[in-house]
């Protein structure tokens, strides 16, 4: 009797598992999937693009992923989770082509099949991973936060540094040299504040505040040779809006740009970048290392005229042989004239483009809903909005992949507050693909449960070597290397 029951149950289970899509009602529309992966371009080495159907109540789902080449993937059940190895094999077989995803759902015993949608598999690979800070989108106080490294070909995320390591520690900007983590700078704030400078495995903790500079070093950008790193120094405060669609205003009362030389512990200053009558911030070196881009605005009375402060995109020559700056500042994009303001300039590593964020005013576009990504073609000086990737909400911080064919950016488009990471491809002709959100297993519940924003995303070409235990002990100590002004 017992045996009979087991056989009966097993056959029932087998029948349930193997039930395929039979006689489905064909629906002419795409399924409403989360995240929106319909028609996106993905790199061959991306993690499985699992998705959910949060708007549909269904008993079972059946997803078939096919390419022109390779073995199809067939997922059945409640969740849409593609097996990692099969996924990578399918993408590899269809590199430079596309895959088609057919979604069917079973409701009350009847199948419904949606219009199949494509994903385009780019011929350009993406870097090994992306590094970001996760922090609650708060005001002045911070709770748990950390800098994390995500392997883009899987769902593995590992913490590099979390603020549980040192009580009261705030983790700030991190930077790598053109995705190379051999050159690493991370700024820590709090009573144990320091700037971590790690070059080719050797690291030291710096005290970058001097009597001649406004603050400790803030926004970093490596020189392509790794011999220098540019920083801004900022006297920053926050303001808080009163009306419903606004939250925070981050204001620089003063700011300058400088360059640090790690091997001599020297800060290199230029009077042109230290002017009282203007605010300079967000430095970035050109790929050849001979130009330093930055944002500059005429200083105005704050808070009375904070909405009139608008940053232009400027540049100054830099000689990497002797660390000397040029004699004049050129304005590349006069945003002031457009009644706009530029932040986060990021030149592509192939020297073709410079991407930046454009908002109505100020420099901290992260809290500006109107902030969008724009691109300057450095070859012909043409400027355009990246309509392919922008949304009605904030698009802000961004960085390029090593091959300059991908860029990652943070966006508040999902819910208006919690920033998420998106990736988009730019091909040889400058065509930009529809962006896709950083893949997760069970993405809807993952992002819905997540109480952190993603900040300061940057690609890395391999896992970062950073030993947290000794770093934590050293941060707790008073060991700091002072920097000097040359």
């Amino acid at each position: 009797m017992k045996k009979m029951i087991v056989i009966w149950l097993s056959s029932l289970l087998l029948a349930a598992c193997s039930s395929s899509v039979t006689d489905p009602e064909m629906v002419g529309t795409y399924p409403e999937i989360y995240p929106d992966y319909i028609g996106v371009t993905i790199p061959v080495n991306i993690a499985p693009m699992d998705f959910d159907l949060p708007g549909d109540n269904y008993d079972r789902v059946d997803v078939l992923v096919k390419g022109c080449e390779g073995k199809e993937i067939h997922v059945k059940g409640k969740d849409i989770l593609f097996p990692e190895n099969e996924w990578h094999r399918l993408l590899a077989a269809n590199e430079g082509d596309s895959i088609v995803v057919t979604v069917s759902i079973q409701q009350n015993g009847k199948w419904k099949q949606f219009r199949p949608f494509p994903m385009f598999v780019s011929p350009y690979r993406m870097d090994y991973g992306v590094v970001y800070r996760k922090i609650a989108p708060g005001y002045e106080v911070y709770s748990k936060m950390g800098i994390y490294e995500r392997d883009l070909s899987s769902f593995t995320e590992r913490p590099l540094i979390e603020n549980t390591l040192v009580p009261g520690m705030c983790l700030n900007c991190h930077s790598f040299n053109r995705t190379n983590p051999d050159f690493l700078s991370i700024h820590f704030r709090g009573s144990h504040g320091a700037t971590l400078m790690q070059v080719n495995g050797k690291n030291e903790l710096l005290n970058t505040k001097t009597d001649s500079t406004l603050s400790a070093c803030v926004y970093p950008y490596w020189h392509p040779t790794g011999k220098y790193i540019a920083y801004s120094v900022n006297n920053t405060r926050q303001g808080f809006h009163a009306v419903k669609d606004e939250r925070i205003e981050v204001l620089d009362f003063e700011s300058d740009v400088l360059v640090y030389k790690p091997d001599t512990h020297e800060l290199l200053l230029s009077p042109l970048l230290q002017k009282k009558e203007s605010f300079e911030t967000f430095p970035a070196f050109s790929p050849d290392g001979r130009t330093l881009y930055f944002c500059s605005a005429e200083s105005k009375e704050i808070p009375a005229h904070y909405k009139d402060i608008r940053y232009n995109l400027c540049k100054i020559a830099f000689d990497p042989d002797n660390g000397m700056f040029g004699e004049k500042i050129d304005t590349l994009v006069n945003a002031e004239k457009m009644k706009k303001s530029i932040s986060f300039p990021r030149p592509s590593y192939d020297g073709k483009y410079l991407m930046f964020t454009l908002s109505d005013y100020g420099n901290f576009s992260i809290w500006h809903k109107e902030a969008d990504l724009w691109i300057l073609d450095l070859r012909d000086g043409s400027l355009r909005e990246l309509k392919e990737v922008n949304s009605v909400d904030t698009e802000s911080f961004h960085n390029w992949s090593a091959n300059s064919h991908w860029f990652v950016f943070s966006s508040r488009r999902d819910d208006g507050l919690y920033t998420r990471l998106y990736f988009a491809c730019i091909d040889d002709k400058g065509r930009i693909s529809k962006p896709f959100m950083l893949p997760q297993e069970h993405p809807f519940s993952y992002y819905d449960n997540l109480i952190y924003s993603y900040n300061v995303p940057d690609f890395v070409n391999r896992p970062i070597e950073l030993e947290h235990k000794s770093l934590g002990e050293r941060l707790l100590s008073s060991e700091r290397v002072n920097v000097n002004v040359r």
Binding site: A136, V141, E162, T164
Partner: protein, 585 residues
């Protein structure tokens, strides 16, 4: 002492402990339970469980948080604490017995419980320590149930990492029992080498585990060696925790050395001594002024405005925290202008306190901002308070309020995020699910008595918040919607608290837009004060002032100007007037 008397006595003492603990937490310390409950967000969710279990002590912490959610109803919290303390006492005695202690020393098993109770009376002491003690006591008792020496050792070796992970550094208590029992046995059998080797090995094993953990988890080694979640502040590790650990280890061993003496008198003396000491020690750990403040805060959460005023009438609150709650209650019941100075006032800090970077003080102020209609500021204070929770937990109370502020502001997707989380809780689920039905439904929100009104009250013209210009912001709020009488009362109260009579006189006429049937008493007091400064008679006074107010100011002025030593008399007679605040404080 025969067996039944012994049993009755022991049961009676334990029962007394259980009842006393319940009565204490339920009747005398309930606001502390509510305080704990609001600073966590226990979710029935696999990811939440996994997050807790991925760190040492996480299991005890998870169980503690699970239990703490029931503090939502203080009687449930009192029951849980009573059960925990009683279980710890019983398990402690069971372990003490294993060391051969005589039954007349039963009262000694209450000592660690009283110390723990004292500790738990601290509002930042986490329940995880009690749960961890319970776990380690179970493990310790199981150890002594094993008779085979080798099996015991294997059990202990296996138990140490498991206990460290489940219950944290309380594992050292377990190691203490095991080592002491081995050494006692060694002393008895006069064989030292092997027991000493085993003892040292166990101690080294116990130290090695946190050392290894430090390579994988991002916590300072000291915290991994001391404990992660026993106290709300990660940098703080109260010495009392060491004391509890030491008592748990030493009481079984030391009490086993005590002799058998006069049973009845001995036990009575012991009971009296332990009870007296326990009472005083627990009492010394209690802070009833904080309990009072927490109660005010809780009543604000529950919108028990009249209860707040009744409580203040019996004993006027003095801390800015409580005064903020009282003033809000007065404002919400329309009594602010009439009664505010009947109670102790500590300036604008008791009205709309400046933001402090902590997790408690911004909350009553955020409540005031919320009811005023300063939704963004209420949201900021709430968010900041939550982010300032030292052990990085989230807060049910804050999530609830953030869902409301986002809903009022039309940020439905953000509101949904908080509501989805609250849907995974036990006591906020129904509210969250009901509120989800409001998202995107403008008509329904606008028809809601609270949210609909706050939508009308909030600012529509943008500016940057400035706590140095609070009166300006309150004025703008009132001018935006003249039905917002609370904003007007806060505006006048704010400048009155600042003793800024010029501003009061400038803002007072704005009250014409509100439906006052009389001039509130404190406004009258200020108006007649101003009048008497510039006029010799009441003739031509443009306000309807109560005759007794006019009479009182004359008497007050007469005494104030002629009697230099009448300060105390005036305070006594006019202590509930604005003149007292203005001139005598």
């Amino acid at each position: 002492m025969n067996l039944s008397v012994e049993k009755i006595g022991k049961t009676g003492l334990t029962l007394l402990l259980a009842i006393t603990a319940f009565v204490f937490w339920n009747n005398y310390y309930p606001a502390h339970l509510l305080y704990h409950e609001q600073y966590q967000l226990f979710l029935f969710d696999g990811a939440y469980l996994w997050e807790r279990l991925s760190v040492p002590e996480g299991f005890a912490d998870y169980i503690a948080e699970f239990l703490t959610q029931f503090y939502y109803h203080p009687w449930m919290g009192a029951l849980i604490l009573s059960f925990l303390l009683t279980a710890i006492q019983l398990l402690c005695w069971a372990l003490v017995k294993k060391f051969g202690t005589l039954y007349i020393y039963y009262p000694l098993s209450f000592i660690p419980v009283f110390v723990l109770w004292h500790y738990l009376a601290d509002e930042n002491a986490m329940l995880s320590l009690a749960v961890a003690i319970l776990i380690v006591l179970i493990a310790g008792n199981l150890y002594f149930l094993i008779k085979n020496t080798r099996l015991r050792l294997i059990y202990a070796l296996g138990c140490i990492p498991v206990l460290y992970w489940l219950a944290g550094t309380i594992v050292y208590v377990f190691i203490g029992w095991v080592v002491l029992s081995i050494l006692i046995e060694a002393y008895r059998t006069r064989t030292y080498f092997s027991p000493l080797f085993c003892s040292l090995g166990l101690i080294a094993w116990g130290i090695l585990i946190p050392l290894v953990t430090a390579y994988f988890l991002q916590y300072p080694l000291l915290r991994l060696l001391r404990g992660l979640e026993y106290y709300r502040f990660p940098e703080v590790f109260p010495n009392i925790i060491y004391a509890i650990g030491l008592l748990l280890v030493l009481i079984p061993v030391v009490s086993s050395l005590f002799p058998l003496w006069n049973k009845r008198i001995g036990v009575i003396i012991e009971v009296v001594l332990v009870a007296c000491w326990g009472y005083n020690y627990v009492k010394s750990g209690c802070d009833f002024s904080k309990e009072e403040s927490m109660k005010y805060d809780w009543m604000v959460r529950e919108k028990q405005w009249n209860e707040i005023i009744r409580m203040a009438e019996s004993k006027t609150p003095t801390s800015p925290y409580s005064v903020t709650c009282l003033n809000l209650a007065l404002g919400m019941t329309g009594q602010m202008g009439d009664r505010m100075f009947e109670f102790y006032q500590n300036g604008t800090e008791g009205l709309l306190a400046k933001y402090q970077r902590d997790f408690t003080s911004p909350l009553p102020t955020s409540e005031a901002f919320y009811y005023l209609g300063m939704i963004n500021t209420a949201q900021r204070f709430t968010f900041e308070a939550m982010e300032a929770i030292p052990n990085f937990r989230k807060s049910t109370r804050c999530f609830k309020r953030l869902a409301e502020t986002n809903l009022i502001n039309g940020q439905y997707q953000v509101a949904a995020k908080y509501l989805h989380a609250l849907s995974k809780t036990l006591f906020y689920k129904d509210w969250a699910e009901e509120t989800l039905g409001y998202l995107g439904n403008e008509k329904k929100i606008n028809a809601h008595p609270e949210w609909g009104w706050l939508r009308k009250a909030r600012y529509t013209e943008d500016f940057l918040f400035s706590d140095r210009e609070m009166d300006m912001m309150l004025g703008l709020l009132y001018q935006h919607n003249y039905q917002n009488k609370l904003a007007f009362e806060y505006l006048l109260a704010y400048v009155m608290q600042q003793r800024d009579i010029d501003k009061f006189m400038r803002y007072y006429p704005l009250g014409a837009h509100s439906d006052y049937d009389h001039i509130p008493k404190h406004y009258q007091e200020l108006l007649v004060y101003v009048w008497t400064q510039t006029h010799n008679s009441w003739k031509g006074m443009p306000w309807s002032i109560y005759p007794d107010v006019m009479r009182d100011i004359m008497d007050f002025a007469k005494i104030f100007s002629t009697q230099s030593n009448a300060r105390e008399y005036l305070k006594q007679r006019y202590g509930q007037t604005y003149w007292n605040y203005l001139l005598l404080n």
